[in-house]
């Protein structure tokens, strides 16, 4: 069996000497400062430490894309990215996508297009798609497929996801959404 990656945050300060790091980070616009065990992954820090459970974990090998979040705007696999490494950086997760009650254009388009079923992969797809559209506001269908090829969905067969991303891109270019 593979080594488990998830670590605890609450007993971090009482574990082995030198095994914890102080981290100052901004997550979805909220500043946090805390001690984390060195081996704590970003996913564990978000889910167990900050109870931001919207970010999911699946393969733990950074190949399924489920745990994708943005660190300083760059997509990373939070299952293998260490929490200690977000010190001084900003993190965006699915919980930060909407502005208050108003859903992000991507969230709206995913719902409209039935671009999810079980929803477990969806937070990762949304964050990757956000990163894509920030770099390339007008992607072709092939560019969407290329960029999201690292995100696995077992339910939908992907076609509705491609449609949703293209639709959200068009809407965002029209300036009608966040």
């Amino acid at each position: 069996m593979s080594e488990p990656h998830v670590s605890e945050t609450k007993s971090a300060t009482t574990s082995r000497p030198g095994s914890a790091t102080e981290v100052a980070t901004t997550v979805n616009g909220v500043a946090h400062r805390s001690w984390v065990a060195n081996r704590t992954t970003l996913a564990s820090f978000l889910r167990d430490g900050l109870t931001l459970t919207g970010t999911k974990v699946s393969c733990e090998l950074q190949v399924c894309g489920v745990c994708s979040v943005l660190v300083d705007g760059q997509p990373v696999s939070s299952c293998t990215y260490l929490a200690a490494d977000v010190d001084g950086r900003t993190v965006e997760t699915v919980e930060g996508l909407a502005s208050g009650e108003r859903l992000h254009a991507l969230q709206q388009a995913f719902v409209r297009n039935f671009a999810l079923q079980c929803g477990f992969c969806t937070p990762g797809f949304l964050m990757m798609s956000k990163a894509l559209l920030e770099r390339n506001p007008d992607p072709t269908e092939d560019e969407v497929r290329e960029y999201l090829d690292g995100n696995i969905c077992r339910c939908t067969g992907y076609q509705p996801i491609v449609a949703a991303v293209l639709e959200a891109a068009a809407e965002m270019r029209g300036g009608r959404s966040a």
């Binding site: 069996m1 459970t53 699946s58 039935f114 999810l116 079980c118 929803g119 939908t156 076609q159």
Partner: protein
Amino acid sequence: MPEVDAGAEHGTVGRSVQRRDLLEKVTGAAIYTVDITPPGTLHAKVVRSAYAHAQIVRIDAEAALAMPGVVAVVTADDIKDLYPRFGHIVPDHYILATGKVRYYGEPVALVVAETFAAAADAAAEVEVHYSELPAAMSVAEALAPSAPLVHEEAFVVSADESFSAMAATPTLEEVTERTNVAHEVALGWGDVEAALASAHLVVSNEGMKFPMLYAYAMEPYNAIATYADGQLHVISTAQHPFMVRTDLARIFDLPLARVRVQVPYLGGGYGSKSYTKVEPLAAVGSWATGRPVKLVLDVEEAIYTTRADAAEVNVRTAFDADGAILARDIELRLDSGAYADNSPLVLAKAANRCFGPYRIPNLRVRARSVYTNTSPASSYRGFGAPQGSFACEVNLDKAADLLSIDGDELRRRNLVDHGEEILPGKRGLDADLKADLDLVVDSLRRDATQAQASGIGYAVTASDAGAFPVSTAQVRLQTDGSVVVLSGSTEMGQGSRSTLAQIAAEELGVELDVVSVSQSDTATVAYERTTGASRTTTLTGLALQRACADARSKAAEMAAEVFGWSAGEITQVRGGVCGPQERFVAFGEVIMRWFGANAGEITGIGLVRRTGATQKMPPFWECGIVGVEVDVDQETGEIDVRQLVTVADVGFAINPRAVEGQDLGAATQGMGIALFEELIYDGPQLVNPNVVDYRVPRMRDLPAKIDTMIVERRDGIGPYGAKGAGEGALNPMAAAVASAVGRAIGKWPTQVPLTPERVWRLINDLPEAES
């Protein structure tokens, strides 16, 4: 005011309404089991077998117990006063390996600690001493004369009569001589030998191999159990909470009513979360420590927990000169792994489904499920059907070539008609497969290239689906006219929360917005046997329709009492009842007048059992009609799926977009089987128990053309003529892709997945690589 009757125009059903679960799923607010950690929770890590087959000599847990934060190490010795096994058909599955281990990765001990990290650290320090035994790693090894026995003892079969009702020929009698054959099924009629001897043409495909598969539901199995005060509360990733409850009650000798199994959103299931998985482990952890215990598997552990049955199939089909099938003779062997789980039913279904929805005057099917020292096999979407259809549909295309008849025409000449029996005494076919096949073939041919290296393939399957018809539902009408639906069917992504709301809104004549649906909590919702075999829309839907009818007539009776109306003066109308002089009284007003307060509710109950419309098995046939066009790179053997065409013959689509989504999802998983997916054992363990080496379809594998068609002939027994959906398109995919590749390269594949290497070897007449 329009009356609620069958002739009324549908208001809510038949429309692609926005699925209600999607909003909370896109914001991250949706709660899955893995997101729940009650206060005081301990965390568990499983110590797993390092051998495929070995005696457990001794377990040393002292070092682990001495580690910081460790609360308990539970082994088989600790739970021997409980009923230490589970299994809904054969209770052969030890919670913790007892005496010996039967596969690499089998749970041997459970470490329970204050944190997950502490449990994981300590699990590595539990020393298990083994004495290795010879192992049976394949069906061939397991059936060899001197094969080691995976199970020395026979267990009394605990399946009820519903099991035999789902198998065409139940053969669950006690086995006298112990072998590794877990189960056998024989099915057939007529004189196969005579038909083979006198046929114009006999076409055979021998040794057709279907791989071991992992469903890869992206949320791995996990559970939280709390055992306290003689009550057990489990939150888990179970598709069938009521069946898990039965296993748990037996383990702890508790009344069913003192076991509560609750299932929030599932991160995928596809059958792999059917029946009991990690719940007993979490439960014995809590029983041993008196605190809530959470157990979350990683993907590798999940792969070793359940896979799909691998199959090897031999098929011979006899034809007359016009291509009419005279006989089929089919042998199926399933590699079912170390424990039975649902494999006996997978086997029975494989036997029922392998020969296809064709008119076959003489049939012989012999099927065996074999224990091996590999991970336990159980349900996966469409179970039994994909295993058999790969061999038997490719066999038809090979025959078509030899008969110089188009593959679709050969099928058309043999497909059963609407209403005709596929299995004697069972429900006749409730679909028009010839018309459906025409739609697929027309779409494929319309856009086909004339390229040399391309080929078209299609395949047809019909599955006796719907499972055993025991379903219940409840509706609770509220004083403000809103409605609560209670169902034991699990929302696992298929969209039942929306579908059930649509049915309730339709039946009661209320707005969809005022209907809420609560599901899958054995303590609070209505009983449902399973969430599988595409049954929810049909069977739970029927139960819900009846619950709504019950609520409406209760409202009418209460209105009669309150207003002094006679029964004949009252009509049931949308949202309430109508009395004399067209006096409309909304449900809410009926409730408040009857109770004499701004309080109370009406509960409607709906029950479904094997009677009336659901007397005949199966409740419905789930058909799979798919086609593909592929390009094959003759140099590399790489396959590009250019076209994917599916027909969902669903009777009536309550939410068409949701049906399309299910169909494309099923076809895509089927494409994964055809092209990529295969668990591979090398020695005692898998070489690819992870998502890097076990490749599933990705976005760039999407075919350039996708055509998903829905056919609605209202020929199902479900609400508005609906039948189940969601498995159909997976079942024939491996066969369709293999046939397309066969036509592209002029040689018929004998094995899926069709990896580039396999196709290249086939093109170049090279033998299959040694595994």
